[in-house]
Symmetry: C2
Subunit: 257 residues, 2 copies
């Protein structure tokens, strides 16, 4: 099995761009790219000078790997038009690798991080989950992943799906709570900025402690005065009230005080 040194990417969104940023200066050559949005190619990608191709069938047969960084529902379709000689991975948390099994070397290369393009996140750690159709390809994918990440794991499609579910909870759902709190602050004429150190510290604490063991607050204490006071304050704010009621009930139930 060929060591992976020359790759192609399909897609030009946040995942493709962040991979390009990470692979730059690792010795991995980002040789070709296919994207529908040629005009929107991020500078981080163009700096790598990949050849932009206009048809997936035009990918160089000698590429060591093509990474499909495209929406979930297009991955299977895309894989069908990629020349069969070229090993392929996708970057999705949810799509089983069985859906791109039309070649000998296929797998997944899932970056478990919220990837946008800004100047402050260049050094954030990106755990990468690997899955491969055979152990030789798996080894090469691990080596490739280790050039850009110190947290590389092998995960089955089923377990990757579970981790993706948990990722939705700690990323999208947490962000929704931030958003609801921000909205409430705006409506109340108070500054959400004051809460930023608190939410950052909340995320820092669970880096070393179990979240379940460090819970605090009115629901944990079953302080019904405060809980009912807060629910009354939210009488005009149905969404936040629903969240408050459900989550407080769950926290109280789990509290053994």
């Amino acid at each position: 099995m060929q060591e992976i040194k020359r790759i192609g990417i399909i897609g030009s969104g946040n995942v493709a761009t962040n991979l390009a940023i990470k692979f730059a200066n690792t010795g991995i050559e980002f040789a070709q790219i296919f994207t529908r949005n040629q005009k929107s190619l991020n500078a981080a990608i163009t700096r790598c000078r990949p050849k932009v191709i206009k048809d997936i069938a035009l990918f160089d047969r000698n590429l060591h790997l093509i990474i499909i960084a495209a929406p979930d529902d297009s991955i299977e379709k895309i894989s069908k038009v990629i020349p069969n000689e070229i090993p392929v991975v996708h970057t999705s948390g949810s799509v089983a690798i069985a859906s791109i099994a039309n070649r000998s070397n296929y797998g997944s290369f899932y970056p478990l991080q919220t990837l946008t393009i800004d100047n402050d996140n260049k050094n954030i750690p990106i755990p990468i989950l690997i899955e491969a159709s055979n152990t030789a390809f798996e080894s090469e994918l691990i080596k490739l992943a280790e050039t850009i990440s110190s947290q590389v794991s092998v995960f089955s499609s089923e377990n990757r799906k579970k981790l993706h579910l948990a990722a939705v909870v700690v990323n999208n759902f947490t962000n929704h709570l931030y958003s609801e709190a921000e909205q409430y602050c705006i409506e109340s004429g108070i500054s959400f900025d004051l809460l930023k150190p608190l939410l950052k510290e909340t995320a820092r604490k669970v880096q070393t402690q179990s979240a379940g063991s460090i819970q605090t607050g009115p629901a944990k204490r079953k302080d019904m005065n405060i809980i009912e006071g807060h629910l009354n304050m939210l009488s005009e704010n149905k969404d936040l009230r629903d969240l408050y009621q459900l989550i407080s009930a769950q926290i109280s139930k789990k509290s053994i005080r």
Copy 2:
């Protein structure tokens, strides 16, 4: 109005201990402490060498301030036995200062942070919200707060209560999501550690961007395949399923895609 240089504290929990840590080396003398749990005094407090007193009536009448860092439902009672000459503040997010109005100088000194005692959090920023019975006392409280915090604001009891509600959301509720995700990972035999960079980055992003504007994920995309798949995976996990359903519905509703 006397500049606040010599203080007493009531309580020996996380708030009292963290204030002691912060006031050390600021020139503020932590002269006396009253606590029911004398044996549990944290080393950070004993290092400040406050005189431990056994009766609230024994507080030195010449103290410039007593900080009540005690549970919400005991604050009013405690304030009634503090000698009237001594200015008093409490550290609660929810208690109106009207409940300790039995003297000329009273107020609140609310540290808006999740305070535990560990070695890594000595430098975390602690916004402090001030409220006072009169402007002279307010000025002195602001000066005091500024010795330990660069984010000092004046907040009415009513607005402090609102900010406390929002703090419950971004701290306790977020921590509950972390806890549910952790529990799900444990039950699934997958490592929660892999999600720690992600949840940290989620909190980092909203330091500079509005949470509502950067939402992503299946609910935002209204990707019903993934949402229904996840709900099926949670059929045995009622609490997380309820959270998933409610929060996804709220995110989808707000998405204008």
